[in-house]
Structures are given as C-alpha cells and as structure tokens.
Amino acid sequence: MTDPALALTDLRFAWPGRDGFALRCPDFALGQGETVLLLGESGSGKSTLLSLICGIVAAGPGQVRIGGTDLGALRAGARDRFRAEGIGVIFQQFNLLPYASVADNILLPLRFAPQRRARAAKGGCVMAEVQRLCAAIGLPDDIVTRPAGRLSVGQQQRVAVVRALIGQPPLIVADEPTSALDAATQDAFLALLFGQLRAAGAALLMVSHDERLAPRFDRTVHLRDIVTTPRVAA
C-alpha cells in the first residue's frame, strides 16, 4: 500500500490577528518520489502553505497527511520530531547557522531525529555519509570543518541540500531555493539537486515564481488552482 508522500484535505488556516492572512486548500496530493513545482505570486501564501506542511505552524480544521501520518493528530512535540525525521527543508537563503561548521549544520536535523540518524549512519559513520553527499553535490572535501558563514551563497545552498537529503527523508520541501542564485548557478544547482533526489527516491515540493524551471519537474501547479484565499472581511 503506498500512501502519497503528502496529502492535504480541506485544509484551513489563518494567521492570528483580525486581518490575518487566511488560506484554504480543499485537495492536493504529492506522490512518492514525485517532483512538483508550485508557482504563485509574492504574498499569495506559498511560504505559509509550506509552514503548514512542515508542521511548524499547526493547521486548523482539515488534514495534512505526510506518508500516511496525520500531522494534526500529533502533539506539538511529536510534530516537531516528525518533521526532523521525515522532511528535508531548504530555504530561499540564510539556510545555515553562520557560526557553526558545515558539518554541524548538516548534522543538526539528525540531532532531533534518531531514526534518520541511524539511516544516515548505515554505510558506516555519519561523517562518511556527510562527506559522500558533499562530494556528490560538488563541494570540496575540506569544506565540512569550515564555518558556514564563510561560504559563498551557492555553496551555502548546496550545503542546505546535503542537510535536507541526509538520512533520506521521504519528502523535501524547498522555498525558492534558487532565487538567490544567478542563472548559470541555478541550473547547475538544480541538476545536482535532482540527481541526488533520484538517488534518494525522495519527493520534492518546490515553491517558486519562476515558470522557466517547470520542465525539470514531473508536474507544475499554480497555487491559485489548489488554494483559495478568502479575503478576510467578515
């Protein structure tokens, strides 16, 4: 039985406050290993939706199911743990703790996810897996001991990819990871990301407002097609 990597049913959410932004997602699903590009204008609620999917903010009524688990049924602590175990997150930029070493940044989610850590250590020790992924994504060998704040933006984004992929979480969520990169770097970055995704068999939900990225993905979705944003007037 294969549960979808992600399924949203009749999800409703509103940021606190009288004029808080609200959204509603009747139905959306992401198959296992599927890559989906989610397009939408600025301020349309893409990041909000990703926060809900990650369980960083709790949804109201409706369901967020990840690999068959209903996030809403979990308590806050369990939800955080679930995110650490099962979801790799990549931001637009400033992904890393600048003062920590690259290795510490990559290992940070494993600190909260013992199972994922065990998976990462299967080939030997965790550091070997870190080195392997770094090499695979074209980062120099000696990078792991350097402070993350000293890396170029492109390098930082690739470290963020390694961090999302380590321990093979079934779902990767990326919020405009390429928008801080120039066109050439963007292309190389996406090629590496997709190469590693296929190797790990993870599903990807990537948010962007750049339609030119579409050909690489299995499917392209416009936010306005899956989400309604009732203007909070009443």
Partner: protein, 420 residues
Amino acid sequence: MILRLATRSLMARALTVGLTVLAIALSVALFLGIEKVRTGARASFADTISGTDLIVGARSGSVQLLLYSVFRIGNATNNVTWDSYQDIAARPEVDWIVPISLGDSHRQFRVMGTTPAFFDRYKYRGDRDLVIGEGAGLNDLYDAVIGADVAQALGYAVGDAIVVSHGVASFTDHDDQPFRVAGIVEKTGTPVDRTVIVSLEAIEAIHVDWQQGGVALGGPAGPATPVETIRAMDLTPSAITAALVGVDQRTQIFGLQRWVNDYSQEPLLAVLPGVALQELWQIVGVAETALVAVSGMVVVTALLGMMAMILSSLNERRREMAIWRAMGARPATILSLLVLEAVVMAALGAILGFMLLYAGLWIAQPLFDAAFGLWLPIAAPHAQEFAVLGAVVLAAAVASLVPALRAYRLSLADGMMVKI
C-alpha cells in the same frame, strides 16, 4: 552538540558577549571582595586585643572608650585621675594594670605614654606578644619605642632623634625635649604599628612648661626648663587616659567592672573588650549591610544588562531560530538554548570574577596593610563563595527566562519564514 553550537554562537558575538561577561565578572569580584574586606576587617579588629579583661576610662560610651584606648580612633572626653588609678590598682582582684596616656602626636602618628609592663601585658591575635625587633625597650626618660609602620613610613632607625608635637595635628612641638628611638616593634597588624610609645613619665616631662590646658596657643611663655632640672623632678602624672586591667580569676571580671562603674569619687567606665567590640559591630553592621546590599545590586545590574543584551539580540536571531525550528527543534529547545547561553555567560563571568578577585587581593593586600593595617588573608575559597557563584549562575538562568520565553513565543508565531 547543542552546547558546542551555543558556545560557537556566543563566540560569533564575542564583543557584546565579552562585555557582558566582563560586567558580570566585575560585579562578582566586587561582591566577593567586599565580603572579604568585611570579614578581614572584623577578624583584624577582633585580633587587635586579647588577654586584657577590662578597659577602664572616663565615663563615656563603651565603644568610644574601646576606640580611643585600643584603636587610637577619636579622643578621650576626660581623663582618669592618678588617685582613681591607684585605687583601682589596689583592688584585690587586679592581677596587673597598665596605664595609658594619649594626646600627643608625632607627625601623623599618635604618641602613647605607658609603663614597660605594656610590652608584657598587651597581647594580640590570640596570645601573641609584642616583639622588639631592633634595639631595646624603654629605659631612659627620653626613650621612644616605635611601631613598624612608623619606622617604615618615616624611615627611622634605632638612635634617631624625634620631636613630639603637642596635641594631635598641631604645629607646636615639644622641640626642647627631643626623644631617641630606642627600639622598633615588629609588625603586628594592630594599631601598635602606628604608635610611638614612650614612658608615662616622659609624657609628664614634656608638659612641665605647659600648665594645665596650655597657657597660650603659641606655646609656653618664658624660657624652657632645663632637661637636667626636669630629670630631677617627680614625674608622677596627675591623670592618665585609660588603663588596661587583668584580673586574677575570670570570675572576678564582672565584680570589678561593677566596682569601677560605681566608683563614687569620679565617673568611670569599665568595659570588656569583647563586649564593646560586639557593640561596635552592631553599629558598623548597618553600614556593612548597606555595602553588601549595594554590591548585590551591582550583581543584579550586571545580570539585567545580560538580559537586555539577549533580548536585543533576539530580533536579529529570529532567522536563526527559524532554522532551528525547521530542523525539528521544539520551541522548548529554543528556550533552553537561550537559558544555556545565559548560564554559560554567567559561569564564565563568575569564574573570571573569581580570578579577578584573587588577582585584586594579591595586588591590594600590601596596600590595605599599609593604609589600614588590615591584612586580608588569601585563603582557599570556601563553600560560601562557591554558593555565591552558584547563586549568580542560577539568577542568570532565571533572568534569561524573560528573553527565552519571548523567543519561544516568537518562534511559534514566525512560522518557517522570517521576513526581516
């Protein structure tokens, strides 16, 4: 790993963190330092006189009597007549009695007239005797035995001539009758170090030309009496300032005290040094408490500074918090991260403050000794000091809860993306 990340994060903000740690360190050093000086002063005062059962003087306050007779602080309001002194000395309970006559000075130091018995009877720090390190005791009428500080400050050696001034801080000198330094008392850490000791007769001798109370401010009128004439005179004093008394048996102390206090010919006061010291502590205690409170407030201020520093750093660190959250950290982890940060800073501050304290003590020890005759012992830190350090760290943890709870709420409200 979390501890490592927390210290890295602190190191990345080395300047502000360093200043915060320094503020805590200084406040801790100040607090413990004041405590050291306080206990040091108490111990030093308590060590100043021992072996004396009663101090007798003119009727005034018992603290005042203790201060002027033993510590040479302040002045006697009145004298004790020689007759009264003789009466007390004749009491059967009295084992020994040593008269003290104060009122003159040499430079910044007080001059004390007494009998040679003073050197046998005066004890300090438990049961220690005065030791005349160089020279000898009082033999000639114009012999003076000086304390170690007097010798050091004025560069005197045995055989030097010194001139005693009339009164304290006065410009009229008894320069017609110079004294000779006969001996130097080894360092005691008591007011004896800062005293010029002469015989009771010598005090009388230098006042021969000064009629009671002094004739004129300009000094005695007429030619000075030749020294040979004075030596031939009867130099028994008419009055003394105070007397130190030892009794035969300790049980007789209170009886003698009552007898002196009820003495009808003259209003007198007899006090037990220990009791008077207790009274002194009661008076000083208020000031001490204030001092400790103020230094405690300084520690609180330093901790408040740390709290403000963490609070103001929160905004620029919201993205960092969002990263932690996205990686699976619970809000409680973020809270504990900030508390941990505060605890590390406070612990560093406390340790640094401790080191500052001992470095400061090491430097200040000779200075305090020279300026106040106060010897601050550099002892191994005792449990109470560790308790203070622990309390500082604990207080820091509590103080950090304010910014930590704020970070907790922010990290819940921010979601994944922080827009700055």
